[in-house]
C-alpha cells in the first residue's frame, strides 16, 4: 500500500488532470457535486456529493445520434464519447451503485455509450472515515470504508492519504503518479483496516437501532402490492424528482429529439417514476394514475423487482433520499414498515 502526503495533493490533481479529465467533489455556493476539476476549484471530501456521480456514466442528458433530413433522405450520425476520465473521491456506496447500473446498461441489449464510458473511466474511491447520520450502506452488505469495485482505494488518514491500487487500471494510474507516492508503513496500513471495521460496525449498529434491516425484506415485500402500507405512505409525496434524481441507482430515462429545421439530434435524458407524465400514454391513459402507484413502484422496484431479476437490491444506502426528501418519504421508512425480519438486537 502507498501513501501520499496531503501537501502533495495539489501536485497530484495537476498531474492527474493532465492525464485525463478529473472529476472531483467540488464545492460551489455551499453545494458539493462532482465536476471536472479546474485549477482553483474547491475540492471538498468532507461530505458526499448532493448529486451522485452516476451522471458521469449516465449523464442527465446525452446526445447519441444526429440526423439530417433533406430531399427524401435521412442521414444519421452516431455520437460516441472519447474522453478518458478519472472519477476521484467516489464513496463506496456510490461506487457500488455502478454495479447496479451495469446490470441495466451492460447486459443485453448493451448501452454502448455507457459501456464505453465505463471503459474510459478510472475509479478512485475514498473510504468514509465516519458514516453520516443517514447512512445505511451496511444494510446492503456494503462497507463505508471499502469499495471492492474501485480501481484505486484511498483513505484519508489525516496527514496523508493511503493509496491502494486494486485493478490493472488502478495500477496504471499509480504508475503515472508514482513519484508522488511513498510506501505506507505497516501500522498505517493496519489503521486503514481498523477504520474499515469500526465504521462498518458503527453504521450497522445505528441502522439496526433504527430498524433499517433488509434481512428477508424481499420476501416480506412479495405480495405487498395491494398492501395498505402504500395508502399510508403516499399522501405526503410531493411528486418531485429529488429522490430519483439524487438516487445513485435510479436509471430511468426518456428519449427526445431536438431539431432545428431539417437537422437535429436524438438524446436520452433522465426521467423519474415520481412524475405523472412518466407513464402517461399518448392516448391519455395513465396506468399509474396517482402518486400512490408511483411511490409503490419506486420502492418495489428497488427492493423487490430489481433484486428478483438481478439478485441485488437497487439501493446502496447512501442516505441521500433520507436527507433530501422534503417530506421525509424515503426508502428507510419502507424498509422499516414493510419490515425485514428484525435480527440481531
Amino acid at each position: 500500500m502507498k501513501k501520499i502526503a496531503k501537501e502533495k495533493l495539489a501536485l497530484l490533481w495537476e498531474l492527474l488532470a493532465h492525464k485525463a479529465t478529473l472529476y472531483f467533489p467540488l464545492q460551489e455556493d455551499g453545494a458539493v457535486n462532482f465536476a471536472p476539476w479546474k485549477n482553483g476549484a474547491q475540492v471538498d471530501f468532507g461530505v458526499n456529493s448532493i448529486v451522485p456521480p452516476k451522471n458521469v456514466f449516465f449523464p442527465q442528458a446525452e446526445t447519441y445520434l444526429r440526423f439530417k433530413t433533406g430531399a427524401k433522405r435521412l442521414q444519421l450520425e452516431s455520437v460516441e464519447p472519447e474522453e478518458k476520465f478519472i472519477l476521484f473521491g467516489v464513496r463506496p456506496c456510490d461506487l457500488a451503485s455502478f454495479n447496479i447500473l451495469d446490470k441495466i446498461f451492460l447486459e443485453e441489449p448493451t448501452d454502448g455509450l455507457y459501456a464505453k464510458r465505463r471503459r474510459l473511466g478510472t475509479l478512485v474511491s475514498m473510504g468514509c472515515n465516519e458514516p453520516g447520520e443517514t447512512c445505511f450502506c451496511t444494510s446492503f452488505a456494503l462497507e463505508p470504508a471499502f469499495a471492492p469495485g474501485a480501481d484505486v482505494m484511498v483513505w484519508d488518514m489525516g496527514e496523508f492519504l493511503l493509496w491502494e491500487p486494486r485493478s490493472t487500471k488502478g495500477e496504471a494510474l499509480t504508475a503515472v503518479i508514482n513519484e508522488l507516492l511513498d510506501e505506507a508503513a505497516p501500522e498505517e496500513t493496519a489503521a486503514a483496516v481498523r477504520l474499515r471495521d469500526t465504521t462498518a460496525a458503527g453504521e450497522a449498529a445505528a441502522a439496526r437501532q433504527r430498524g433499517w434491516n433488509t434481512e428477508g425484506l424481499q420476501e416480506a415485500l412479495r405480495g405487498k402490492f395491494n398492501d395498505e402500507l402504500w395508502e399510508k405512505l403516499y399522501h405526503r409525496c410531493l411528486g418531485c424528482g429529488i429522490c430519483t434524481y439524487l438516487c445513485p441507482t435510479c436509471h430511468c430515462f426518456d428519449i427526445q429529439d431536438f431539431s432545428r429545421d431539417l437537422e437535429g439530434e436524438r438524446f436520452s435524458c433522465w426521467d423519474s417514476c415520481m412524475f405523472a407524465e412518466f407513464t402517461l400514454m399518448t392516448s391519455g391513459e395513465n396506468p399509474r394514475p396517482t402518486q400512490k402507484e408511483r411511490v409503490r413502484q419506486r420502492f418495489l422496484h428497488k427492493l423487490l423487482y430489481f433484486p428478483s431479476k438481478f439478485g441485488l437490491y437497487a439501493c446502496v444506502g447512501c442516505g441521500r433520499c433520507v436527507r433530501k426528501c422534503p417530506v421525509h418519504l424515503d426508502i428507510t421508512q419502507v424498509i422499516k414498515e414493510a419490515g425485514g425480519v428484525v435480527s440481531g438486537s
Partner: protein, 145 residues
Amino acid sequence: MPVNLKLQSFEPLIIAFCCNWCSYAGGDLAGTSRMTYPANVRVIRVPCSSRVSSNFILRAFQRGADGVVVAGCHPGDCHYTSGNYFARRRFLLLQRFLEFLGMEPERFQVHWISASEGNRFAAVMTETTDKIRALGPNRKLRDTR
C-alpha cells in the same frame, strides 16, 4: 486581425412581434413609403401586443435571436381597448427581470408604434439593430446545440 473588426462584421438577428392593428400596419406604411431599415429585423404578426407571451420571447432568444422587440399600439389606442396596458405591465416586469438575471436590457425592447408611424417603425428598427450590433452576439439564453 483586430477583434473589433470581427465584431463589425457581426449581423444580429432581431425578431419583432408586431400587433396587427398598429405596429404591423406601421411596418407596412414604412414599406409603402419606401423607407429603409436593416434586413436584420424579421417580423412576426400577432393580433395584439397582449398576445405575446414571455414564452415566445424566451424561445426567440433560445433559438438565436440577438434582440427581441415587441411593438404595439400606443397606450390608450389599443384596438382591443386594454391589451397593451396588460402587455405594458407584463413586459416591464419581464424586462427588469431579465436584466436582473444579467441580460443586457437593450436586447428586449418594447415600442409603441402606430399605424401612421411608418417613419418611427423604420427608425426604431434601425436604432435597435445598431444597438444590438454594437452589443455583439447574444449567448445568454441561447440553446447552444
